[in-house]
Assembly symmetry: C2
Homo-oligomer: 169 residues x 2
């Protein structure tokens, strides 16, 4: 399994599981029913961010997007999002993508990584991020309409990074 | 002083203080140096949200934008942002705009209002939102580069609203 920066040609391969995950509606507050072209800017991140793909035997089985959480005066904090094809779960692909993002954010001199909306019932994700050092900052109660569990909370999670080499980033 | 829904023609009047506030860089993690047209989609909110203006003697002295904080499964929580022309400050215009947004969110059956990035040194704003019932959920340390105070925190603030009339909003 290899993680590499995506190209525009990778998008249809990512979209296969993007579409399934958004239609299931258990983990992302994203629009449903998007076409291939409507969804593209929601996942394919422009510079200074990037989107990467996890490739196994030539097939895209996961993806992460990463970049500044905010523009301007908030651009030294990164954020990221993750998607895994169903058969890639429980195989360490999420962990590898998480580690990749942390290393990328360090190299780009971000001061920390913030997740803005981790669905509290997505325990696999919450535990994975905690095991990589993220803490739950707080939870907005009932902020997510889960298709089977009703209104559940959204966690903010945060990982501070070691002091950057460039204070002016 | 009157608060009303904005029209496209109001944007140049809002942009006058939008530009000053973003250039000062003390309260918003927005891009700097935007042109009138670049900045327009950053402030003029499409439906189901809206942008309103506070008008005094025919002059726009403040503005607020409001809408769903997230699409899809998170669209029942609102968010909002506020701008005041310098001479409108300490005159209750911010409080009137805040009350307007809360009333709008109630009528639209939102379950709560979330502010994602209140600069902790912007004490007038923090105190105003607290006086209107918002609580600081948590603070991301050092997430905002203040032009004179260095790295300061960003508060998440939240106001739960009474149970909505429509549970399916």
């Amino acid at each position: 399994m290899q993680i590499r920066t995506s190209t525009a040609e990778d998008w249809p391969g990512i979209f296969g599981f993007y579409q399934k995950i958004m239609d299931e509606g258990q983990t992302y507050a994203f629009p449903k029913g998007q076409s291939l072209e409507e969804a593209r800017p929601w996942w394919m991140e422009p510079p200074p961010g990037q989107t990467v793909v996890a490739v196994d035997n030539g097939r895209i089985i996961g993806s992460a997007k990463m970049g500044p959480n905010k523009p301007g005066a908030g651009s030294h904090i990164a954020t990221a999002s993750f998607l895994l094809d169903r058969e890639a779960r429980s195989r360490g692909v999420g962990r590898s993508l998480g580690r990749y993002v942390i290393e990328w954010a360090r190299q780009e001199n971000y001061h920390g990584i913030q997740f803005n909306a981790v669905v509290e019932t997505n325990e696999a994700a919450v535990h994975l991020w905690q095991s990589l050092g993220f803490a739950i900052l707080d939870t907005v109660p009932g902020a997510f309409r889960h298709p089977t569990k009703g209104l559940v909370g959204l966690h903010f999670m945060f990982l501070p990074l070691e002091s950057a080499t460039s204070p002016e980033h």
